[in-house]
Amino acid sequence: MTLATTAATGATTGQPQLVIDNVFKQFGEGPGSVIAIDNMSFDVKPGEFVSVIGPSGCGKSTLFNIIGGLLDEYAGNVLIERERIAGPHKAVGMVFQEESTFPWRNVIDNVAFPLELQGVNKSERLDRAHHFIDLVGLKGFEKLMPSALSGGMRQRVSIARTLVSGPQILLMDEPFAALDEQTRLLLGDKITQIQQDLNQTTLLITHNLTEAVQLSDRIVVMTYRPGRVKRIVNIDLPRPRTSDVVSSDAFGHYVAEIWSDLREEASRGMADTESVRRTAPRG
């Protein structure tokens, strides 16, 4: 409760921790080029949970890679503590859309990976890894290989691996996209709980509306082609939250409100993919 209050005050009065300032990204040159991100601006304050939502292909992963420092060539600025980032920043921890556990490492060695890179000694490494394995609800699975786990469990391993590195900003790209709805809701609960316990500043990238409303303090709605900020919506649902919030009236209003914006973009995206498919059939 107290944590939630601090988070809320932090969100309203604190300095912006992450600033996206007029970011522009174009792939290719000339006629075949694609503007993936067109002058997007927004910020994420300390302790805040912000979601970026938009239909498939609108440039979300591109934005994710730029903020994570994995994509260097872009116009505009990504600022962390007022400094423009150059490459992956130590304050940012990334969770990828794709399956990203190391198949040759068991659960605990996967989670301890970032500590190994930092040269943390073995016993401390294992202690800290245990703590985060516990936090994502994988206690008892430490010695299993990723191949023995379900997709949802592997994604939790990835999340624990990123959390163990102690990022000030947790950056996630559709971490639940490949999961079924029940697992998604339960994992959402887990994320909310972790975010509240650690007062973790989080930027979640998603195409799932329910997920975004369930988890966020604010939602950045993106347009499709080029990717722009269409609207930023404050979600004033009470915290601490659980997945029960999904059945409340207020939740339904938010979903309906954002969906009316999103529908337009999503149908443009769909028309686009279909016309591409009709004119240039490629596998």
């Binding site: 994995l70 990828f96 794709e98 990203s100 040759w104 990976f113 970032p114 609800g137 994988l138 299993l144």
Partner: protein, 267 residues
């Protein structure tokens, strides 16, 4: 939840292992059955008198010949020579193959420029380079090692380059996002990710090195198992010839099995 996971998983793994074991048992039965069937038809053919007795000797004379070969010191001397040739070919060919494979795999330009050569040279029978190797390295074991290394090199280089290129891109991005150094990227991501394809390449390389070494020995040499085969052939001692072929077959199988174990346990 954690408790059920702890209890449930070992049993699940055991069930899986048990199923695998019973699968292995039935494939073994089929294999043994096949061997018995071949041996039976062979013996029937040998006794039928349809073919010359000398061309298809009875299993008893072949067994006797194997027994005699196993007691012959010359066999062990030749075995040692061939084993050394194969080992040295494999070591040299794999070492160079891995190094070149990494360069081709890591560098898109070099890969595009040179890989076609490796690719098209790989299936050419290496034995055609044998005369060249004899001129360079003489008629002794050096020319066999060189030829074996050459054949092993192509296989290992191609599988290493392929393995390097197929390292899951997202794992590389994970490493970069955690700000791994170049050295950490190499040792903690590329190397473990490439282990399976490289070891598999070495295993295939062992096969080609063995074939090449034996073939070269049958062409021009004065020692080694290939040489011994030709000596026996010159005497037209069919039981010993078949006996030696069976021994070579089994030894190559054992070698392959050992390498397979190494690959299998690590992959």
């Amino acid at each position: 939840m954690a408790a059920t996971g702890q209890v449930k998983n070992p049993t699940a793994t055991m069930g899986f292992a048990a199923r695998r074991a019973s699968d292995a048992r039935s494939t073994n039965l089929i294999r043994i059955g096949l061997l018995l069937a071949i041996a039976g038809s062979w013996e029937a053919l040998a006794r039928s008198g349809l073919l010359f007795r000398d061309v298809v000797p009875s299993l008893f004379s072949i067994s006797a010949a194997i027994w005699k070969l196993l007691g012959n010191p010359a066999f062990y001397a030749n075995l040692q020579v061939t084993a050394w040739e194969i080992f040295a070919s494999l070591a040299i060919g794999s070492g160079l193959g891995i190094a070149v494979g990494i360069i081709l795999g890591a560098n898109r330009f070099l890969g595009a420029a040179f890989e076609p050569y490796v690719y098209y040279l790989a299936p050419t029978p290496r034995i055609i380079f044998f005369p060249v190797m004899i001129m360079w390295f003489g008629v002794g074991i050096a020319s066999k090692i060189a030829l074996g290394a050459l054949s092993c090199f192509f296989t290992v280089a191609l599988s290493t380059a392929g393995g390097m290129r197929e390292v899951d891109k997202v794992l590389i991005r994970v490493g970069r996002s955690f700000r791994a150094t170049q050295w950490q990227m190499a040792t903690k991501i590329y190397l473990p990710a490439m282990r399976a394809p490289v070891l598999n390449g070495i295993r295939l390389g062992f096969g080609t090195a063995t074939v090449t070494a034996l073939l070269a020995e049958t062409k021009l040499s004065n020692q080694g198992l290939g040489f011994m085969i030709m000596q026996i052939y010159a005497r037209f001692d069919m039981p010993s010839l078949y006996g030696l072929l069976i021994i070579v077959f089994i030894l190559a199988g054992i070698g392959n099995l050992i390498l397979g174990k190494v690959t299998g346990t690590s992959a």
